[in-house]
């Protein structure tokens, strides 16, 4: 049983690598897809002299064939060398690294908040389906899903930072606790929409499972409600885990706006600055990193199905057995 599962995991990993390769090709092609001369684009908004253009061409091997250029770029990218930022003139890798901490902390905090609040709230709403509490929670989550993160961010800033003065307005703070303190509002703004999304998906999954015959059967032979809920949650785990996986992808979209709103110097803000400045190497590197994180999350979610659902596990084994 374990060998086929391992084989499946390896095959899935291989597929992820292929996907990343294809994505990196697309990302690299971005530079050529943007209008105008590549060398000119790479110089960004600076003054253009023929010497500078020639130097850029030489440095980026722009006279080489496309695939050779791609190979040079991607083989360096896997070692963490994403080239030089046009805007700062410094290497892209360390630049991104210096900004990663704050984004990881904001996104991580937002992820934890939306999962730790969203899943239980979704379960409560499902169990109390149709009752006033459920209506209230569903109503709030509809607002949460529809409210744009940056607008919520501005509102939070206005009320809790400007009005009540409970939280700082901007900046990152010093030290761990103060840093966390500064990240609370951005994380909440980011988590609100995502959490509402998790509430809705969790509620739908649990409601569907609560209607199943095995729930009636479990109750009918005297199992306590707590045991019934445990059985239901195990069965509802697949859609819930899937929604958490999707959330990771949404986190990156949201974090750009939130970091700009709260003036946090994270990867999102870096992305915004680089796009404005046409800093193509940085945009490429950031896009590739996001693609990497999202694909790895999808891989983890897929592999988690094997743990959660024995039917998926059995199907994997059977498919292998027939092919082999």
């Amino acid at each position: 049983m374990n060998r086929p599962v391992l084989a499946f995991a390896l095959r899935r990993l291989g597929a992820t690598l292929l996907l990343l390769l294809a994505l990196s090709l697309l990302v690299f092609a971005l530079m050529y897809l943007s209008p105008g001369d590549v060398a000119r684009n790479m110089l960004g908004t600076r003054n253009v002299t023929p010497e500078a253009l020639a130097e850029i061409r030489a440095r980026y091997h722009l006279d080489e064939p496309f695939l050779t250029q791609y190979w040079l770029w991607v083989s360096q990218a896997v070692t963490g060398d994403f080239g030089t930022s046009i805007r700062t003139g410094g290497p892209v890798g360390p630049l991104m690294l210096s900004r990663t901490g704050i984004t990881a902390a904001t996104a991580g905090l937002a992820f934890l908040l939306s999962a730790l609040v969203g899943i239980p709230v979704g379960i409560v709403a499902a169990v109390r389906r149709g009752r006033p509490l459920d209506r209230l929670l569903v109503g709030v989550s509809v607002v949460g899903v529809s409210a744009p993160g940056f607008a919520v961010g501005l509102l939070l800033l206005y009320v809790f930072a400007l009005g009540l003065g409970w939280f700082p307005i901007y900046g990152t703070g010093d030290g761990f606790l103060d840093g966390l303190w500064h990240l609370v509002l951005p994380a909440v703004a980011l988590a609100l929409g995502l959490g509402a999304f998790v509430v809705k998906l969790t509620r739908a999954a649990v409601v569907r499972e609560l209607d199943q015959d095995y729930v009636t059967f479990a109750r009918g032979r005297g199992l306590p409600e707590s045991a019934v809920l445990r059985i239901v949650l195990r069965n509802a785990a697949i859609p819930i885990v899937t929604s958490l996986g999707l959330m990771v992808a949404y986190l990156f979209g949201g974090t750009v706006l939130i970091e700009v709103t709260f003036a946090l110097p994270g990867l999102g803000a870096l992305m915004e600055e680089s796009v404005l400045f046409k800093d193509v190497p940085v945009v490429q590197a950031l896009t590739l990193v996001v693609a990497f994180v999202v694909s790895v999350t999808a891989l983890v979610v897929d592999l988690s199905y094997l743990l959660i659902d024995p039917r998926v596990r059995a199907r994997t084994v059977r498919t292998r057995a027939v092919r082999g």
Partner: protein
């Protein structure tokens, strides 16, 4: 049979179930003694499932019960007020009453091992904290329960999807018995199972019941099953108890016209009827019946008094006075029961035995020839079809019978072109040698489940017009199609959800007839219907066959249905045809051991 004693282990009095839309069950008394089997019989909408859900406090949201439930047993007496929302069902469920559901495919959690699921129900003497230390004892208990239901101990480590339907139902039974209930309620426990498996599971339940002196409430729509398994029978109609008594008396000598007609609707296995008896009309909603007999509108014996007040449930004399003492409680809610009982076979006046099938003319040309059909599904170890030969002559009706996994549905789907066989030929000798879409129109299929076969968003008229347009016929034929299947023309404006199951299946048949097919394939087309509706649809199909000269390929698991509809029958098992021939020969004098076993498994 155990003679029921007056001391019931379960006595429910004045049990009522009400939803926001109106009453569902309008007052019923029920008593079960230890070791006794009570069958509650009725069609969909009769309220039989809601009655037993009320006994366990398992009614869906928005549905309320009232009445009094008295339970006696080893754990002392207990009185439950069914209307009290604060009732603690912990004392009732599991240890006193356990529920076994119809579908073993959905009643077990798919992601938990069977042993685990059985263990959940085992009461722990030291409370929930004793769990860790008790693991060994629990495992032994699970093994013992599995042994009781005839399963090896290693089933405990398996997941439900790794087991067959019959094995799953055994696991479910072990789980239901885990807390040692005094009474088991089985809601259509074998309807989803194959006939041979059905027999095994019912035998098993009967054995366990004897061993444990357990009461059993059997909910079923199958009168034959009720007659062969139950001591007493309660017949429900539109939320009312219309008749009760011993199984032999109620089903052998019905005192209520509904019971009599329902019994007559059940197609006989031994001979073919020219027209199956039916009950005209359909079951009314319990809430729409006010101050009249609920069956009056469909009853041939109704007199004005039936329509002015609801008839009370009154004692009637048993057919055999000698039995009066032992059986007691023969009651019916009918003013005309004396008349009903004097008539030998209600509704069977029209049911003359028909000549056994239309003799296939030797010269008739074959319409469909299937040769060496083989199909193996991806990821499956055994082939679904393993070299099937079949021939259907023009104008003939051929049944393919078999249990699940026999390949009969795959065969039907290959004939219609919904599946591509791995090897073999499906030759359709259409007049013009048509291929592709033109051929597809010559063969049409009617599926099993009329609830999922129709698009819920389209009106019946649009749905039929679409089918007509696909065949290049004008929309104006919609009304004609509806008339053809016995529906009013006004139904064209309705959507499927406003139709009953039988009406939906008529629409599905009309849709299949839209391109004027030569061959109609019916894949279990009457299995999901109530017995009285099934009889109506079977009659419709044989009328259509006569009127339109249709050729039919009828896939069914029900041998009695095959007997009524088919001229010839093929018996399939494991992807092969094991026996074939005229229906009278195969079902009357089966040659293959498997056909014999199928016939022997049907409750008599």
């Amino acid at each position: 049979m155990t003679a029921p004693t007056r001391t019931g282990m379960l006595v429910a009095s004045d049990l009522r179930v009400v939803s926001d839309a109106g009453p569902i069950v309008t007052g019923l008394d029920l008593a079960v003694s230890p070791g006794e089997t009570v069958a509650i019989v009725g069609e969909s909408g009769s309220g039989k499932s809601m009655t037993v859900k009320a006994l366990l406090g398992l009614l869906p949201p928005g549905v309320r019960a009232s009445g009094r439930l008295e339970l006696a047993g080893g754990a002392g007496d207990l009185v439950v007020d069914l209307a009290d929302p604060g009732t603690s069902w912990k004392r009732v469920r599991g240890s006193r009453i356990a529920l076994l559901l119809q579908d073993p495919f959905t009643s077990l959690s798919p992601v938990h091992r069977c042993g685990e699921q059985i263990a959940w129900g085992i009461p722990r003497p030291g409370g929930r904290t004793a769990r860790a230390g008790d693991r060994h004892g629990t495992r032994e208990h699970v093994t013992r329960l599995l042994g009781e239901v005839g399963l090896p101990a290693d089933v405990a480590g398996k997941y439900p999807f790794q087991l067959s339907g019959g094995m799953r139902q055994r696991v479910a039974l072990a789980a239901a018995l885990a807390a040692g209930p005094d009474l088991l309620i089985a809601d259509e426990p074998t309807t989803a199972l194959d006939v041979t498996t059905q027999h095994e599971v019912l035998e098993l339940v009967a054995g366990l019941q004897r061993g444990r002196d357990m009461g059993l409430i059997l909910i079923t729509h199958d009168l034959r099953l009720a007659r062969s398994r139950a001591d007493r029978v309660l017949v429900m109609y539109a939320g009312r108890l219309v008749e009760e008594g011993t199984a032999a008396e109620v089903l052998g000598d019905p005192a209520h016209p509904y019971t009599a007609r329902l019994a007559a609707c059940d197609p006989p296995l031994t001979h073919r009827l020219a027209v199956l008896p039916t009950i005209p009309g359909s079951v009314p909603a319990p809430s729409s019946v006010v101050a009249e007999c609920a069956f009056a509108a469909r009853c041939e014996f109704a007199i004005p008094a039936c329509r002015t007040a609801e008839p009370p449930l009154i004692e009637v004399a048993p057919a055999d006075p000698a039995l009066a003492e032992a059986t007691g409680g023969r009651r019916t809610a009918c003013l005309r029961s004396e008349v009903v009982r004097t008539i030998e076979h209600v509704g069977e006046s029209a049911a003359e035995p028909a000549a056994a099938g239309i003799p296939a003319e030797a010269a008739a040309s074959p319409l469909l020839t299937v040769r060496g059909l083989t199909k193996r599904f991806h990821g499956s170890a055994v082939p679904a079809l393993d070299g099937v030969d079949l021939e259907v002559t023009a104008g003939e009706s051929v049944a393919v019978v078999g249990e699940s996994g026999s390949g009969k549905t795959t065969l039907a789907r290959c004939v219609v072109g919904l599946e591509r066989p791995d090897a073999g030929d499906v030759d359709f000798h259409a007049g013009s040698g048509a291929r592709g879409a033109a051929l597809a129109r010559r063969v049409q299929i009617v599926f099993q489940d009329p609830y999922s076969a129709l698009n819920p968003g389209l009106t019946v008229g649009t749905c039929l017009a679409e089918a007509l347009a696909a065949a290049g016929r004008p929309k104006s034929e919609v009304a004609g199609l509806l008339t053809l299947v016995g529906l009013p023309e006004g139904y064209a404006r309705r959507r499927p959800r406003a139709l009953s199951g039988g009406e939906r299946q008529r629409v599905a048949i009309a849709r299949a007839l839209a391109p004027r097919p030569e061959l109609l394939v019916c894949d279990e087309s009457v299995s999901a219907l109530d017995v009285s509706v099934q009889a109506q649809v079977l009659n419709l199909l044989s009328d259509l066959r006569r009127e339109l000269g249709l050729t039919m390929l009828f896939i069914t698991h029900d041998l009695a249905v095959a007997r009524q509809i088919a001229d010839r029958v093929y018996v399939m098992r494991g992807g092969r045809v094991v026996e074939s021939g005229p229906v009278d020969d195969v079902l009357g004098a089966p040659e293959h051991e498997y056909t014999r076993r199928l016939l022997a498994s049907i409750p008599q």
